[in-house]
């Protein structure tokens, strides 16, 4: 299915999707979906665009994705052996893991002291950013498309000119006593 160093594109995409889905889980896109484990009941990082973001030149990690894919599947194979799990050959080894096992493996890879931590943390950061900000899209486009992360966070709609303004912003009344030592300029003493 793949060489030692260069996975085919389908393997890479599926493996990266499974990783991103471990960071921000989503609902399966179809009953046959294997990359998404189905640990949530609405869309997660994959549908939010995690792989697109990872492959964006601006992110700067695209050249490492092949090797990270190979490494992740290698870790999954070792993890399965360690836990006596039999992996389904139809999908890459990491994809063949259940959500709980994916979580446990990723937790190990991103833990302080892991020699490859930088790479896995980078993957996790971009997976998160795909969901929390849609950083591969203009935010106005993301809002218009109903981007799953911004929608789930109830990110407010901008004004008609595409800028955010909040005319109502203050309770408008004193809500605490000021520190008795406050100086006339409003500073700590």
């Amino acid at each position: 299915m793949q060489s030692e160093t260069v996975p085919d594109r389908a393997t890479r995409t599926m493996t990266l999707e499974a990783f991103a889905d471990t960071i921000v889980p989503g609902v399966k896109r179809s009953p046959e979906d294997r990359a998404i484990a189905g640990a949530a009941d609405d869309d997660g990082a994959v549908v939010a665009g995690a792989v697109e973001l990872l492959e964006t030149p601006a992110a700067g990690v695209v050249d490492g994705l092949d090797s990270l894919t190979v490494m992740l599947n290698g870790h999954a194979t070792d993890y399965a052996a360690e836990h006596g799990l039999e992996l389904d050959d139809d999908v890459p080894p990491f994809v063949a893991l259940s959500y709980e096992h994916r979580i446990a493996l990723v937790a190990r890879l991103v833990a302080p002291g892991h020699p490859e931590k930088d790479g896995w943390v980078a993957l996790a950061l971009f997976s998160n950013m795909a969901f929390d900000t849609g950083a591969h899209l203009h935010t106005l486009d993301a809002m218009a498309q109903g981007h799953p992360g911004l929608r789930s966070m109830k990110f407010a709609q901008p004004d008609a000119d595409g800028l955010w303004r909040f005319p109502a912003y203050s309770y408008g009344r004193p809500l605490a006593r000021r520190h008795p030592g406050t100086t006339p300029s409003g500073n700590p003493a």
Partner: protein, 553 residues
């Protein structure tokens, strides 16, 4: 024979340390050249957009080190363009701190009384204003009410924001589209330009070499305007005086890289780094409790649900800024906003099942869905100056990973028990306030992912009286290297327990008379005494009695 450009003063960086120097020295008659590694954007260029490559990533820098990550500005105007403009003065006890060196960290010449006139000068220039409660955002109001409910005080924070222009959009980190934030783009920098200073963006200084006439030759790379990993040119400029103001994450790196040509650096260059003791907690507010316990209500029958609305920090609680308490137990707590991404990734779920992760996975996703009910609390504690810079990267201050923003830098930070104690005390105070009577659930951000983090890097090339533990004398001149001055956050001796921008700026103002003296000693016809950038003079009157001591031989 090739000719190298020359200038009187070469300033590295255009944040507070660089812009203030550029203005005063240009106004005084010196030829001033500013090299800024980031781009030059103005209000029309700032975008409300999270897309990689928008103003947000063009002007912001995120450097991951070992045990510490640094966030800072990367543009003309530096930190002032991306910061939240909270401008409190450092409390009196800060100047008496000893840290772990067994003696006062600050130079004997500096205390709150002697710095106050310089604080006044900057406050006039930006300007800085007091906020009243009707300018405080929902998030600030909620924090104030929670403090009050817990028996604490809370204060609106002085800010460099024109609240009449502010739209409370909370996009401050991408640059202020509305010119409400009083960044250096609106005061010191245009005034410096008006007096003939030259600012060159996308010029990243690499190294300094001493010239035969006692000046310095500064070499730089020209950075690609989209892919900051790429250099598109290089050059050199000779200067009589060099002012390093590249930020606490970069100034020591430039000096370390120059050690083979400049000669031995003071021991404190690249040591004693402080992250300002910073720590963040996320509270997930129970909206019903906010109404019932705190009596809060706003439009649409909501009590809070306003995390997205605002202008960064508006309210702080100063009850623990008590000089009678022992060092490392004093801190302030400040309500803060961070946009999604920076503001969400490190937050931990309070409801993780045993053995499951706290910052990613299904439980984490559930709290992200409640994002509008988040309240971020920023703790600024006293850390132990334990950061050390390792071998400099080949260029800049980090090996850049992404085209913009993300890089891997040489800072190492292994928090001491003193620092950890301060964080624990602050975390406990946040928990006591925010979880009282079930108002919210609180968790600190994890330090397991990118280490600790700071938006206020300090002290990596600091002033002091002791040559063993300070790189600069009390006039900001680099020990053993006459004519090199440092005026940025790296000069601040240690954590301040409050936002440090005003203190950095005040110290830069205070350093100028000494730099003018150094220029005059080198034959440059320059004077000191320019008014505020917009012409006000009360700040100048206030510092006049202090200037003589700063120009002594």
């Amino acid at each position: 024979m090739t000719s190298t450009e020359s200038t009187d003063v070469l300033i590295v960086g255009s944040g507070f340390g660089g812009a203030i120097a550029a203005y005063h020295l240009a106004a005084g008659g010196a030829k001033v050249t500013v090299l800024e590694r980031g781009p030059w954007l103005e209000s029309k260029d700032f975008e409300h957009d999270y897309l990689l490559g928008s103003s947000y990533t063009r002007i912001f820098d995120f450097v991951v080190g070992d045990g510490m990550s640094l966030l800072g500005g990367n543009c003309v105007g530096g930190g002032s363009v991306v910061y939240f403009a909270a401008m409190p003065r450092a409390p009196r006890f800060i100047f008496e701190r000893k840290g772990s060196i067994g003696r006062r960290m600050w130079p004997s010449a500096i205390n709150r009384d002697t710095l106050d006139p310089w604080y006044d000068k900057v406050s006039e220039a930006l300007p800085i204003t007091k906020q009243d409660w009707d300018e405080v955002t929902y998030a600030g109001g909620l924090f104030a009410a929670a403090c009050n409910h817990a028996g604490r005080t809370a204060n609106p924070v002085p800010v460099a924001i024109d609240t009449k222009l502010c739209t409370n959009c909370n996009w401050m980190m991408a640059g202020c589209k509305f010119d409400a934030k009083r960044s250096l783009l609106l005061n010191y920098l245009p005034a410096a330009l008006a007096h003939g200073a030259e600012i060159r963006p996308l010029h990243e200084v690499q190294k300094l070499v001493r010239t035969e006439d006692g000046g310095y030759r500064v070499s730089y790379n020209v950075i690609h305007d989209v892919d900051y990993r790429v250099s598109v040119g290089s050059g050199e400029i000779d200067a009589k005086i060099v002012i390093l103001a590249a930020g606490a994450g970069a100034t020591p790196v430039i000096l370390q890289r120059s050690e083979d040509t400049l000669g031995k650096m003071p021991h404190a260059v690249g040591r004693y780094f402080s992250g300002n003791g910073e720590r963040l907690n996320t509270a997930i507010i129970d909206e019903d409790k906010a109404r019932d316990l705190l009596g809060l209500s706003r439009e649409d029958n909501l009590s809070y649900a306003a995390n997205q609305i605002g202008k960064g920090p508006c309210v702080a609680s100063w009850d623990n800024l008590d000089g009678s308490l022992p060092e490392f137990s004093r801190f302030c707590l400040e309500q803060l906003y961070f946009p999604p991404g920076f503001g969400t990734i490190l937050a931990q779920t309070p409801d993780a099942l045993p053995g499951t992760p706290t910052w990613f996975g299904a439980e984490k996703k559930k709290i992200v869905e409640q994002w509008q009910s988040w309240l971020t609390i920023f703790s600024m504690t006293e850390d132990d100056n334990e950061g050390v810079f390792g071998t400099p990267p080949p260029t800049g201050n980090a090996v850049r990973i992404s085209q913009q923003m993300l890089g891997r830098g040489p800072i190492r930070y292994n928090p001491t028990e003193n620092t950890l104690y301060g964080w624990r005390q602050a975390d406990a105070a946040v928990k006591a306030i925010m979880e009282k009577d079930g108002l919210s659930k609180v968790m600190p951000w994890t330090n397991d992912v990118v280490g600790a983090y700071t938006v206020h890097p300090l002290a990596s090339c600091r002033i002091g009286d002791d040559p063993e533990t300070s790189a600069l004398d009390d006039r900001h001149e680099l020990r053993g290297h006459p004519g090199i001055f440092v005026t940025d956050g790296s000069a601040v001796p240690g954590a301040l327990t409050v936002n440090p921008a005003l203190t950095i700026a005040a110290l830069a103002e205070r350093a100028i008379p000494g730099i003018v003296k150094a220029l005059r000693d080198r034959g440059v016809d320059v004077t000191y005494g320019a008014p505020s950038p917009d012409g006000e003079t009360s700040g100048r009157r206030g510092v006049a009695p202090l200037v003589r001591d700063l120009v002594r031989d």
